[in-house]
């Protein structure tokens, strides 16, 4: 049985047609039977899952009110702390660390809402990549086409939802690591505003750019989960103290009254025909006719690249000195080079970040929502080193994030909605709003879903 939607779980539990224990067992059975060729999980937590499910069943039998996510199976990218499990961040380097002594804050909040954690998910080592081709833990393959990558770095998070193993998952996004795998696997994803969700208990990569957020099979589920994750947290210095802004009850409001435009220029230049068609399709459905330019987007992507290299290289420098052989070969030299960058480059990039933030704010004076492709193309083949993009040969791994990096660079909230190409392959569009307006992103994603244009590519049955 593939994972049910959150609403279906709630209805089935309320009707007594299924127990939380049965939901957990179904998820665990499906993972055991079908994750072999996908490799979305790096750890499964059956004892914990059954204990959490039993607690839900006991509460229900006792007539207690159940949490909004009661009995819903989910999993998290393996950079989130899970009590009793070593936090890997995709890296052999961290295997020797002791198990986490407490859950990450977001997992604690999901537990309070009744959700059932079934395991930890594969990712690019350190979150430094867009393909989840991990030398140590294997390549996470795309459930829609196992010859292709799931995207990254939260590849396991998107693949586990697309494979129907779990109803939702958590991932992180520094330069596109929620939006890229959402696009490639065909699921909904939300990268909230920078600082909206606490990162406490999530292993850092680039602290000034790291975001965390959910994946789900529908915009409705995405909003329900996101609402449970919100709230201040003194353990994350970047986490906002703004009031919680619940979204789920408003996602059906439609897009009437919203001023919507498509991002042109750079976002067309680095998108292939499939990606441009997806953005155009979404624009038509949402009634957007204007095309606007986000000035200096190419420089913004470059600045994000510099900041990423510098902060991540500095973070790992001591271990590069002492344990270089344990590093992921696909990332090691990039990290060393990053540690060598002049401070002047890094600081110029951070100053440019302020400039770009102000330029984007001017665009949002005239628009509430911007549409752009999430990825330059559909999922690439496993092992591919280069690809052609509008006639230009580019390296695959750094180029997949071309369209996401300028947006996360200034922390804008983005929902990724899954569309299909003419021949049925998943490809996502970014629905981008002004800071703190996740509600607008989610309304647009829901509107595309209602229009029959966005639909998750949940694979009913996987074959080895």
């Amino acid at each position: 049985m593939q994972a049910l939607s959150i609403g279906a779980c709630a209805r089935a539990l309320a009707a007594g047609t299924v127990s939380a224990t049965e939901l957990a067992d179904a998820a665990l059975d499906r993972i055991a039977a079908q994750d072999g060729p996908i490799r979305s999980f790096t750890a499964v937590t059956p004892e914990r899952a059954r204990a959490q499910a039993l607690a839900v069943d006991t509460a229900r039998a006792g007539g207690e009110a159940l949490g909004p996510l009661a009995g819903v199976p989910y999993a998290v990218k393996n950079l989130f702390d899970i009590e009793g499990v070593t936090t890997l961040a995709g890296a052999k380097l961290l295997e020797g660390n002791p198990p986490a002594t407490a859950d990450a804050t977001l997992i604690q909040r999901l537990s309070q809402a009744g959700a059932v954690l079934v395991g930890a998910l594969n990712m690019d080592a350190y979150a430094y990549g867009f393909t989840t081709e991990n030398t140590r833990y294997g390549t996470t393959r795309n459930p829609s086409d196992t010859t292709r990558v799931a995207g990254g770095s939260s590849g396991g998070s998107a693949a586990a939802v697309a494979a129907g193993f779990v109803s939702f998952s958590l991932g992180s996004d520094t330069n596109g690591s929620i939006r890229v795998p959402s696009s490639f696997c065909g699921v909904f994803g939300l990268k909230p505003t920078f600082g909206r969700l606490t990162r406490a208990g999530a292993y850092p990569f680039v602290p000034s750019l790291d975001h965390v957020g959910p994946f789900a099979g529908s915009a409705e589920d995405l909003a329900l989960v996101y609402d449970m994750l919100q709230g201040p947290d003194a353990r994350d210095p970047h986490c906002t103290r703004r009031p919680v802004a619940l979204t789920a009850s408003g996602t059906d409001a439609g897009v009437r009254g919203l001023r919507i435009a498509v991002l042109g220029g750079y976002f067309e230049q680095w998108a292939d025909a499939d990606a441009r068609a997806a953005a155009a399709h979404a624009a038509r459905a949402l009634g957007a006719t204007d095309v606007v330019t986000l000035p200096e987007a190419e420089r913004a992507r470059a600045a994000a690249f510099v900041i990423t290299a510098s902060e991540s290289g500095a973070f790992y420098l001591d271990r590069l000195r002492e344990r270089a052989e344990e590093f992921e070969p696909l990332s090691r030299e990039r990290l060393i080079a990053g540690a060598m960058l002049p401070a002047a480059w890094y600081l110029k990039a951070q100053r440019f970040r302020r400039w770009f933030q102000q330029a984007a704010a001017r665009v949002f004076e005239n628009y509430d929502l911007l549409i752009a492709p999430a990825t330059p193309c559909t999922a690439t083949l496993v092992g591919a080193e280069t690809m052609k993009l509008n006639g230009v040969t580019v390296p695959v791994r750094p180029s997949i994030g071309l369209l996401t990096q300028p947006i996360s660079f200034i922390g804008l909230p983005v929902a990724t909605a899954p569309l299909r190409t003419e021949d049925g392959r998943p490809i996502g569009v970014q629905l981008i709003a002004a800071p703190w307006r996740e509600d607008v992103c989610l309304r647009a994603a829901r509107a595309l879903e209602h229009a029959g244009i966005a639909r998750a590519a949940i694979v009913p049955e996987l074959t080895a």
Binding site: S208, P237, E296, E298, R299, R301, A302, A303, F305, V306, A309, L317, L320, R321, A324, R332, E333, R334, I336, A337, G338, A339, M340, L341, A344, W345, L347, K348, A349, Q350, R351, F352, R353, R354, W355, Q357, P398
Partner: protein, 62 residues
């Protein structure tokens, strides 16, 4: 571009010494290639004129 053509070899050697991070020959070459890629992108940012009063984005909140 080969590592030698980047002109970054002496810089990488100096930074390797500063960081006390010895590099094998093969690793040194790959670091140079990666650094050249970052330098090309950094040039886009470094060439952009900014107002002197524009402060870096991160904010320290005591």
């Amino acid at each position: 571009v080969s590592p030698d053509e980047t002109g970054l070899g002496p810089y990488v050697d100096a930074m390797s010494a500063v960081h006390d991070l010895p590099l094998t020959s093969a690793r040194r070459d790959e670091v140079i290639v990666q650094l050249a890629r970052i330098r090309a992108l950094a040039a886009l940012v470094n060439d952009f004129e900014l107002d002197d009063h524009l402060e870096p984005a991160p904010q320290f909140i005591p």
